[in-house]
Symmetry: C2
Amino acid sequence: MTPAQTLEPLLTWTGERLERGIRIEVDAHGRIEAVGRAPGAARADGASAPAGPLARHALLPGFVDAHSHAFQRGLRGVGEVFPEGAGSFWTWRQGMYALVEQMTPERMFDLASSTFRELRAAGVTSLGEFHYLHHADAEQLDFAFDEALLAAARAVGLRLVLLETYYQTGGIGKPLEPAQRRFATPDPATYWAQMERLERLLDPATQSLGAVVHSVRAAPPEALAALHAEARARDLVFHMHLEEQRVEIEDCLAAYGCTPLELVLKHCAVDAAFTAVHATHSRPQDLERLLERGAGVCLCPTTEANLGDGIADVPAMLAHGERVSIGSDSNARIDFLEELRWMELVQRLARERRGVCSDAVGDVGRRLLDAGTRAGARALGLDVGRIEPGAWADFVAIDTGAPALAGCTDETLLAATLLGADGRVVAGTCVGGAWSGLDGGAA
Amino acid sequence: MTPAQTLEPLLTWTGERLERGIRIEVDAHGRIEAVGRAPGAARADGASAPAGPLARHALLPGFVDAHSHAFQRGLRGVGEVFPEGAGSFWTWRQGMYALVEQMTPERMFDLASSTFRELRAAGVTSLGEFHYLHHADAEQLDFAFDEALLAAARAVGLRLVLLETYYQTGGIGKPLEPAQRRFATPDPATYWAQMERLERLLDPATQSLGAVVHSVRAAPPEALAALHAEARARDLVFHMHLEEQRVEIEDCLAAYGCTPLELVLKHCAVDAAFTAVHATHSRPQDLERLLERGAGVCLCPTTEANLGDGIADVPAMLAHGERVSIGSDSNARIDFLEELRWMELVQRLARERRGVCSDAVGDVGRRLLDAGTRAGARALGLDVGRIEPGAWADFVAIDTGAPALAGCTDETLLAATLLGADGRVVAGTCVGGAWSGLDGGAA
């Protein structure tokens, strides 16, 4: 419980634009109670500057980071020398597995808390942690790292969706490699037993669960089908790595005679609760079928670039509306504004035109903000991403006085923030009414 | 003149690696006098932590930004709505011309000083300002904005190479458009008269001149040939926008029967003092001929992405060694670490492999740092970009205690800084012995 509070930012995101003279009431449970005109702003110009802690701030919905592996933050700067001339996703994975083998619950807690702190300072208020590194002792299947993550999120005050990940095989039809044994869930029954245990450990106001099969590499189709069906019966969102690397598609074609997306569409009743992470190399017809079912795609711009994944067909995804969410993935770089910006900039480079990720009225800023808020909320099944009564009081306060925003008008501020700034413009964040960085609700 | 000073950073860039236990002597003229082992560091482990203001800092050569249009900072966040569905470089240029028409000397000074301050805070100590917006009164050819730039750089303490730009025609064989009249230099004689006037206005310790023809659009071949020959006779570096957009190549082929690079190679004795800015769409054979002459290329990663230019053949450029410098160009985004990182990341996305911009031993961090220091120094004809006796004492101090660098070792710090951090890790910079942000030489 936090005290009820009244927020009067200089500018507030209405879902359409930044507006002056809006007052927001937050209740003691951390939800938005009311959004309306501030009394002093009844004048036609609407331009009276508020007093108080948000007097020079633009209030946006807190950013929703829909895909993270917090522990991979430990690889920042590691493996950036390529003596044989070229590196790949697969050589990078060897380095990641080396980190996995050294992991302890204490190190997981430390890595996760520092990652979560960096994310929150970058404006992220909700995180989907795609969590596959479970065991301190692979023999015992102890799931000790699951609890470390929940504790780290509570310590930082970050809203967490623990996307508990099922990992049974070390490749299609292959046993687990030694490092992968720390990821192991041997069967769906063990998975659901752990999910029920986790359910009892959650902070109900800020933590929830989602179901995940790591990839087509990590589970046979029967397990995938059973897990997806049960997840939907329990009303859980379902995420899966899909088609990030060409080799994954080739291996799947060789083993099953179909692409990973085709396999998923064949075995799962895919719906709007499904998120395909990456879909970098998806065939147009597969992607189209996925999107027609209402599913979303989570892009991870800085990680996909760092790993040399390739360039996805984002216009095809956006043709279906608000379907693209954003993840910080490996956390090799943490700045959510950089993630959002490069969703658009990579497309501009590849297509040699501007305004690729723009919405119905051609607005790039609005489209990118939606990807980082509403689409993420949808992917994680959270009632966040909008400043409206009933939603959680999750906000990011942008300092309009920051050097990177000097010279902006109310009309250019959002695009300047998304395309021209970084976490330095984030003055503070609020998760369920609890502020960090500044006390936006102070009298 | 600044007081002579002794620097003892935790880590110092030697040109090869970050090393502990190095002491740097800076003379009162702002040049490096000596670089050697710190007495306390004679122990074999070399790991004794220094005291003093750089006790937790890694000292790198100050970053060299080889291509900027400072006034375009005024466009940040502008023109990011595309109601007709798609924007281009050319529609962006209309917005830039609208800013040009409103320009006054005061506004140029204000825009340039805030741009220069942002750049310096991002670790940039030397800037190549590709300056084509000259006149407050286009009738008078007053070159009033040239002086505003020199004054702004002096106010911020940024080392400036004023890349004075020749702009005669509004397109191949076309008169100037109204906005372009503020760029005008009618003939080479007027240009050299202004260069001589500027020479007398420079601060000799921190300011110098370079010669520029804006593009093949802006000058007939005879003027290009004459200006380049005279520039080299005066030992000035020579820069030119080249082949950023496909239309420029098509127009040049239509008018002259050759590409812009062919035109330059035909009319100019290109040498190592030549920098082609962008070369995004250059034909392999043209690029090869340019590089064989010793010339360099300046890439502008965030601007080329923002404008949807396309993806250059960076491996072909790097095959000739340290030839790629980096510019912040439009300054729509200012963070030099983001520029450096995306030089590599864009290539990874396009080529679907990692380690594209790596040096002889496969080191990405070293290659990117060289692009942002030594290659920039070469492009601007400056004795900076290295921490060695005789060079200017231009440094950037990286705070190894910054959250983005938590967990780094001496070996991973450089790659983590370049691939995983932003200007927040820049604790201070030094230009010719004068510090900003922290006083690295304090006793």
